[in-house]
């Protein structure tokens, strides 16, 4: 047994800290919450405005344009159609708007942080364990305080998704920048590149495939949070899964689960194809 005399708890201070935060900065959190919510609603209304067939057409055309494979593109474009057949179209759009909001925020925060992490060693030293924590901390641990600070519903769902999905884009941005071949960097420096020119003209373009892989990973991680965020009241496909589990309706759960999978496949293929276009030309 671990000796009793070494016992020390941080639970109390953490509780106090959160409580104080809510009391002292309630209005601040309210306004943040309001800002995120209105952005999210904007995204949602745009997505809802687009007719269903337009999604299918866009998925087909994007896939065709980047891969030139007819059958693959038809199959990919049929996946959203199946979601509609299950009667889950509206739910899928709601989930999609949470994901898009979270991913956009992740990119706005993550890309500059990734660059900083690659450029400045101390930043990397601090950031790395934080990122580990963000990815491995059980999501309920921060879901509850997020709920206390931002209320029930979509906003804490977006934030929880953001925390979970942010690390890959930061990591892969930094990785891509650090993997730029040294001879290329050296040549740029020899011709009088400043640090900024080196970043803009050489390192960022060469890191682009890795950065886009990070964007892809971040999007996939965001999708994985769909079900969990439904537990704090975000509507969407996750809510459908949750309901079916509660009612032990395996079939309905399967339909909702497959819809999440289809959504993931479509987004994954489209972002991957876009990433390919950024690779340096082979010929």
């Amino acid at each position: 047994m671990f000796p009793e005399m070494f016992r020390y708890h941080v639970a109390g201070p953490v509780n106090d800290f959160i409580n104080n935060l809510i009391e002292a900065y309630g209005p601040v959190f309210d306004s943040i919450s309001h800002g995120i919510l209105s952005f999210l609603l904007g995204v949602n209304s745009v997505l809802s405005f687009i007719p269903w067939w337009a999604y299918i057409a866009v998925v087909f055309l994007l896939s065709w344009y980047s891969s030139k494979k007819l059958i693959a593109s038809v199959v990919l474009a049929s996946l959203p159609f199946v979601i509609g057949m299950f009667g889950l179209w509206a739910m899928a759009i709601e989930s999609l708007s949470v994901i898009i909001t979270a991913v956009l925020m992740a990119l706005i925060i993550g890309l500059p942080l990734g660059v900083l992490m690659a450029e400045l060693k101390p930043v990397a030293a601090v950031l790395r364990p934080v990122l580990d924590g963000m990815q491995t901390m059980p999501s309920f641990v921060y879901l509850i305080p997020a709920m206390m600070l931002f209320g029930l519903g979509k906003v804490p769902a977006v934030l929880a998704t953001l925390i979970y999905a942010l690390p890959p884009v930061i990591r892969l941005t930094a990785l891509g920048l650090n993997q730029v071949p040294k001879p290329v960097e050296e040549a740029a420096l020899a011709y009088g590149a400043t640090r900024w020119q080196l970043l803009k003209e050489v390192r960022l373009p060469l890191a682009m495939p890795s950065i886009l892989a990070g964007v892809n990973q971040t999007t996939m991680m965001a999708l994985a949070m769909v079900v969990i965020s439904s537990m704090i009241g975000a509507r969407g496909l996750g809510q459908e899964v949750l309901l079916s589990i509660n009612r032990i309706d395996v079939g309905r759960g399967f339909e909702a689960g497959m819809s999440v999978v289809f959504l993931a496949i479509v987004i994954d293929r489209l972002t991957q194809n876009m990433a390919k276009r950024w690779e340096p030309p082979k010929r």
């Binding site: 001879p183 290329v184 050296e186 040549a187 740029a188 420096l189 020899a190 011709y191 009088g192 590149a193 400043t194 020119q197 003209e201 050489v202 373009p205 060469l206 340096p280 030309p281 082979k282 010929r283």
Partner: protein, 313 residues
């Protein structure tokens, strides 16, 4: 190729006194440290015991010991040595891609070692150009964009950039390849792009770090010949690093031989071959002599028989 360039190179930088050395290297040291927080100051190199200790230890590498050289205007100066002899470190010190631990580098009257960051960037943009062994081309840019890269960095006008690049590409025989990407070129062609990128800068000094080492013998010879031909009209000061003695003999006006970070002999290629300064140099040279002897034998044999097929050794 044009007259002003020729003048520029032979007269050195405007304001520089005639007959001034193009590159002056004085007591240059470079000690790499591996351990974190460990640093060697410029005064430490005068302490012989300390240097010896560092050299033996695991935590530091003495890459260059007290190197002093004078390179004249318009000459092709060769640095020769085996890998690890410090020649790559030396050439990188000249534009401070590697920071020397101590010593001075004066290029056309400008003290490179004393420059601040801003001055150094301008110096690299205007006064010096470098060709690398591994080309260092940008894979996401076309041949044309690679050649104009240095001009773009220093902020030249777009139209002028294109014109100069077209000129340089013609000189290296790559006219018509402007729109290709480096990945679709062979090694020899990539290095031609590397050379064009350096020529286009119109800098009086050209640094070449084993530019032809990665190429097959035929292409290597072809590029050496072209470089010699170009130099005949350019009269740049060329600082050329190689580990290939025959290359040194073909290209060099003078050469220095490096061993374990020290210069062991300086002289014209003929002098070095005739009077190797020590064992190390004579071993280098004897290989070459052996080469020549065998080539002559083969030629003699072929001549004795029927007309032989060309032999490449």
């Amino acid at each position: 190729m044009d007259a002003p360039q020729q003048q520029d190179a032979s007269a050195g930088v405007p304001g520089a006194a005639a007959g001034m050395e193009a590159i002056l290297i004085r007591d240059l040291w470079k000690i790499y440290t591996r351990k974190k927080g460990m640093s060697v100051s410029s005064s430490d190199v005068e302490n012989e015991e300390l240097v010896e200790e560092l050299d033996k230890g695991e935590d530091a590498v003495v890459a260059m010991k007290n190197v002093s050289l004078e390179i004249r205007q318009g000459e092709t100066f060769i640095i020769m040595g085996l890998s690890g002899s410090g020649k790559s470190t030396l050439i990188r010190c000249l534009l401070r891609l590697v920071e020397p631990t101590s010593g001075d580098i004066i290029i056309n009257g400008e003290n490179v070692t004393a420059m601040n960051r801003r001055q150094l960037v301008n110096f690299r943009r205007e006064k010096i150009a470098m060709v690398f062994q591994h080309y260092g081309l940008l894979p996401h840019r076309t041949v044309l964009q690679n050649v104009t890269f240095g001009l773009k960095l220093r902020g030249d006008e777009k139209e002028g950039r294109k014109e100069k690049a077209a000129d340089a590409l013609e000189k290296v025989g790559l006219k018509g390849w402007e729109k290709y990407y480096p990945a679709s070129l062979s090694g020899g062609m990539r290095q031609r792009v590397g050379i064009a990128r350096a020529l286009v800068m119109d800098a009086p000094i050209l640094l070449m770090d084993e530019p032809f080492s990665g190429l097959d013998p035929l292409i290597r010879r072809e590029l050496q010949d072209e470089m010699i031909h170009l130099q005949k009209v350019m009269h740049k000061t060329i600082f050329f690093v190689t580990h290939d003695l025959s290359e040194a003999l073909r290209m060099g006006d003078r050469m220095a031989i490096m061993k374990k970070g020290e210069i062991v002999q300086v002289g014209s290629p003929d002098e070095v071959i005739a009077n190797p300064a020590d064992d190390y140099v004579s071993r280098f040279v004897s290989d070459e002599r052996e080469h020549m002897r065998r080539a002559e034998e083969v030629l003699a044999k072929n001549r004795a028989g029927k007309e032989g097929t060309p032999h490449v050794s």
